[in-house]
């Protein structure tokens, strides 16, 4: 119910494939020879201490950063060659606010949806806001919401923008214990419907399915 795939899009088995990825920051190697695969219906957690390059990795995989060597494949083809198709399937939520504080949750999400070519879908936005527990706050300016609520507005994008790959940078930041359990449930729902999730977190995931953990920060010690 949470995955609204666009009609005609058939998910290939191989989702994201990372081959011999290398990145450094100011002559300090973040990771080298990094390989992993994320298929449809899977969740991969990127783990590692602060400064080990988790956010850098996610930004590379989202196509925001070009500071890497190696290959990133999406459905068997290089990311660089099919950026448009890839972005249609990708939903990236970074650790930034992702919302304009002076606008209301509804206005923020309307704009986010319009960027993805989704217009006049207030129903979906309202139900997404309800799902993240913000009904009643739709028209209130975001700066009057708490940090956790603001984070939830940002996460509500998961439910009003169709995608088959979620890339989430620390989605549990500022979220309370009950909210964390909820988000874990959403993730497992999405995965069981064939979605793929890549996330970083310091939190111990309790997740219904099996999931892979890719640990960064070991390459740097070599």
């Amino acid at each position: 119910m949470s995955v609204r795939r666009q009609a005609g899009v058939v998910l290939a088995n191989t989702g994201l494939e990372v081959k011999r990825l290398y990145s450094d920051r100011d002559d300090r190697v973040l990771f080298a020879d990094l390989c992993f695969q994320l298929d449809a219906g899977q969740l991969v957690q990127i783990a590692g201490p602060n400064g080990s390059g988790k956010t850098s990795l996610l930004r590379i995989l989202a196509g925001l950063s070009s500071r890497y060597e190696g290959e990133v494949l999406w459905q068997g083809k290089s990311l660089l060659k099919q950026r448009h198709e890839y972005l249609q399937q990708l939903l990236y939520i970074g650790h930034g606010a992702g919302i304009k504080a002076v606008l209301s949750p509804l206005e923020n999400l309307r704009w986010s949806c319009a960027l993805r070519g989704l217009n006049n879908n207030d129903d979906k936005i309202l139900s997404a806001l309800e799902k993240v527990g913000l009904s009643g706050f739709e028209e209130q300016a975001c700066h009057s919401l708490s940090a956790g609520q603001q984070r939830r507005v940002n996460l509500a994008r998961l439910f009003c923008i169709p995608a088959s790959l979620w890339v989430l940078d620390e989605p549990f930041t500022a979220i309370d214990q009950r909210g964390v359990t909820e988000i874990e449930r959403w993730l497992s729902e999405f995965v069981s419907e064939g979605g793929a999730v890549l996330l970083t977190t310091h939190h111990r995931l309790s997740f219904a399915h099996e999931f892979k953990i890719v640990t960064l920060g070991e390459a740097a010690n070599v």
Binding site: A62, G63, L64, S65, S66, R67, H84, E85, L87, Q88, L90, Y92, G94, H95, G96, A97, G98, I99, K100, A101, V102, L103, E107, R110, W111, S112, A114, L115, R116, G117, N119, A141
Partner: protein
């Protein structure tokens, strides 16, 4: 991508930026206040003689309008960069060009447009003859748009830097020169009773060139600034 889809995208971005700017208030009012204050400083600096002021008015008004527009430019992408909504624009599968175009136009609506509308009042303060008012307004309407587009390139280049403000002026001011030359010259010609349409036509050419080309540079610059 259908044309109506693009139009909707432009409208959505435009509406969101105008709304955000109106709510915050300072974003559109500060450049105006700056414009008024600096124009008021000139008679204090060079003396109150009406004929002297009248002679200098076209140049003063244009230079101060240019500076006001420049000061406002730094905030064009900075807010979106800080709250990471810029990432959403870059990661949309829809083209960046119309989004950037809409953002820059929204910025002009909130800065250049009120500036141009207010300019006759300041013209009166600086003893600008009535003959020059129309030329002043029209030249500012066209010229400040060009300034917004050129400034947006600089803003996009410096948005990832912590101290972008002063640097932005350094890299953008030389590029403003043609607009300043033709804008102030239009007003001057009008005051002297001459023909000022050629200057406005030139500004119109700059307008079209800036409209077509600068979003390309802005898009590239934004990608570079986010990719650090």
């Amino acid at each position: 991508m259908s044309d109506s889809g693009l139009a909707k995208l432009v409208v959505a971005v435009l509406r969101r930026d105008v709304m955000a700017s109106l709510r915050r208030g300072s974003e559109w009012s500060n450049p105006l206040v700056f414009f008024v204050m600096v124009c008021a400083l000139f008679p204090l600096g060079i003396g109150p003689q009406p004929d002297r002021l009248a002679e200098l008015a076209p140049g003063i008004l244009w230079v101060v309008a240019l500076l006001a527009s420049l000061l406002a430019t730094d905030s064009l992408f900075r807010g979106d960069f800080d709250d990471a909504t810029l990432e959403q624009m870059l990661l949309s599968h829809q083209p960046l060009y119309p989004q950037v175009l809409a953002k820059t136009l929204a910025h002009w609506l909130m800065t250049g447009l009120p500036l141009s509308i207010l300019s006759p009042v300041l013209g009166v303060l600086l003893q600008l003859p009535a003959k020059g008012m129309l030329a002043l307004m029209v030249s500012l309407l066209l010229g400040t748009t060009v300034l917004s587009f050129i400034g947006a390139i600089g803003a996009a280049l410096t948005v990832g830097l912590r101290k972008g403000g002063l640097l932005l002026s350094l890299i953008v001011l030389p590029l403003y020169i043609p607009v300043l030359i033709f804008g102030s010259s239009a007003v001057k010609s009008a005051v002297e009773g001459g023909e000022y349409f050629p200057q406005l036509a030139m500004l119109g050419v700059f307008y079209l060139v800036a409209l077509a080309l600068s979003p390309l540079a802005i898009c590239g610059a934004l990608r570079i600034s986010v990719d650090q």
